[in-house]
Symmetry: C2
């Protein structure tokens, strides 16, 4: 039996991160590659207690749930969104299997193969995979430290008539970039004017190193859900734990209705046990204090990594210090190919993600994404020391 595969799945590149994780399996590799949160900070006891309360609720908790997701959790989430200036009702929100599923389903609902989507340059790898799986044409928009450059965005909108703009405006992946208020407002104005939906992907927005920082979401700037061009997604993976695989999408009621139809076909609903556990967690656990603690811890880890990098005297390595999130985006000298460097690094026992995979077109080959949240202390020190060794030998050969 010879199987024939759909053209889009054949065109889909396996994730670089995934391939690296395979490369490192079973070895004593220190990984700065994955986007993994710090396990030490998972609120295990509180999640356990929350799950026990769900089980105390009886056997009905184990039955099929609503496609849209467990209503009490949606209600609580709407309250949390309101605190961040986002006005949304439970029927303008759908719970998903992580925010990754929200991205996939929104694309299936709103776009056709061949449609154009505009993205930051560079942007989140797994979203590029969704776009590829759906046969979209991805056009990267020139971007700097403040976000997409608006003149370019407008020019490309006129030229390509995109059917969606995809952005991670706060503590972006891979760059750690945070959009300025002007750029946020600028994109919102452009998309409102041209009638183009914005998919605002905000998995990291709450992971701030300085709790006082305020970066209004595009969704909050739009001021409403119905009729707004902003469709928003976020997740509990970074603030609680990834294993519970719960994210959400929110926005215009009609879009959410279509999303529910698509989700019904895709998997009926996401884990009802996880959703009920998160609902109980939100009722009994001080999640906001916990998120502040995560932000502080990650800020300290970033400082450690920056200090280690600074002490190494690497030639011409540059970065912009992020104000939140999980990633440091390093720029090496132009001649240095980070995919080749990765092979040398893995041989030394350390991994990162070469930057090329994050570009929709014309990749810059001298970039590297380092995660600073999964390791710390001596292990981070050892990892940077190994990377330094690899870099030394590698550049000696260049």
């Amino acid at each position: 039996m010879e199987f024939r595969f759909s053209s889009h799945i054949q065109g889909l590149q396996s994730s670089a991160v995934r391939d690296i994780l395979k490369l490192t399996q079973g070895k004593q590799i220190i990984s700065f590659a994955g986007g993994l949160p710090a396990e030490e900070l998972f609120p295990l006891q509180a999640i356990r207690d929350a799950a026990l309360r769900v089980f105390e609720g009886g056997k009905a908790s184990l039955q099929y749930g609503l496609t849209e997701g467990f209503l009490p959790l949606r209600e609580q989430l709407c309250g949390r969104m309101a605190v961040k200036g986002m006005q949304v009702e439970p029927d303008q929100m759908i719970l998903t299997t992580g925010s990754q599923q929200a991205i996939d389903l929104l694309v299936r609902v709103l776009l056709e193969p061949g449609d154009v989507v505009l993205v930051e340059n560079p942007t989140y790898l797994a979203s590029l995979q969704v776009f590829s799986l759906s046969g979209l044409r991805v056009i990267p928009v020139a971007s700097d430290k403040d976000g997409m450059i608006m003149a370019e965005t407008e020019r490309l909108m006129r030229e390509y008539k995109p059917k969606m703009v995809y952005v991670v405006p706060t503590f972006g992946n891979p760059t750690g970039r945070t959009w300025s208020l002007e750029r946020r407002q600028g994109l919102l104005d452009l998309c409102s004017h041209f009638g183009v939906p914005i998919l605002e992907d905000d998995p990291y927005g709450e992971i701030k190193f300085n709790a006082a920082d305020q970066f209004p979401t595009l969704f909050s700037l739009a001021g409403k859900a119905d009729g707004s061009c902003v469709l928003y997604t976020s997740t509990f993976s970074k603030t609680v734990a990834p294993a519970l695989r719960t994210g959400w999408a929110m926005g215009d009621r009609r879009v959410m209705g279509m999303l529910a139809k698509a989700k019904q076909a895709a998997d009926l609903h996401s884990s009802a046990l996880d959703q009920q556990t998160l609902d109980q967690l939100l009722r009994h656990f001080p999640l906001d204090a916990h998120i502040r603690k995560i932000g502080e811890a990650y800020g300290a880890r970033l400082k450690q990594m920056e200090a280690l990098l600074g002490s190494r005297n690497w030639p011409d390595v540059q970065w912009i210090s992020p104000r939140g999130g999980m990633f440091l985006w390093l720029e090496f000298p132009e001649a240095l190919d980070t995919e080749a460097l990765l092979r040398a690094a893995v041989a030394k026992g350390v991994a990162f993600v070469p930057g090329a995979a994050f570009y929709a077109a014309a990749p810059q080959r001298n970039m590297a994404r380092l995660n600073f949240t999964y390791t710390d202390g001596e292990r981070m020190e050892l990892g940077i020391s190994r990377l330094s060794e690899a870099l030394g030998e590698f550049t000696a050969r260049m």
Copy 2:
């Protein structure tokens, strides 16, 4: 902002079951509509204990998991499959969010919009929705109590060159039909000959009223995973509980590799907490004895429903008694439209699913699907009594 929706999502009908559930919300309706398992039989205590053991394993249990699913659970599942004559390795298996997701992802991996899929007539509604969402052309094959009629299957294969055949050969939905061994072997031979993948959907196969009954899966008849045309999916939703949303797909290693790429884009992975809980459950809970208990209980419920129907003297209502599963498929006199009957029934406080939704084309309008697993005892009696009343008034008006 005016949203434009993709043509396939616009064409997707909302599920009849879903609409009925909405209709019944907040009312004291006795529902024979949903495919809901009996809540009384959920092994709540064992699931609770299993979850506690996962939490005892420490914080790493809350981290991101593999796209393919938790390996120890796949290993145990392979052992369970072997007992049923299905030889499969962990890397020929992927855990999914229920078997519904397995169906959706396999379609995305193997088919292109416009491709033809052959289905039983009638067949599972939510699969028809997946096919619609993916823009497939669905051709129903004339089927009788033993399965698809092979001469017709062969004729349609030659005429339409389908890219997939979708079947539920054991205790089908909605019909409760179980394919004969001859038809199983016949379809396998045809599809091997023509090189057409078979998607064997087997959510109910273990729910047997007579534990001694043996109905070999198409997958077991094929004798191997790699190179076989049979791709198989099943779920824990009916044997353990739906809230844990864990199903699996298995088959040719190369197809599973493509499926993993698609799943990575679709949601990275399904709930790792649910998968680990099921892994612990399988280690400490006698699942096979539990499944026998479910089969016996459901068999008794079916008997009760058949007795109630038999005692009612409805004019010309016929059915074939299923040997397992969750559904009774009623044929009313030809002139009786069950969608109209449903409205009368809901007014009386009872619901079922009109059969028309299960037909890919040319629906038979006098069929009804009744679930007999969710209710029993006096409540089932009351439900059938209400349905009887509705039918009496309805036919008096005809």
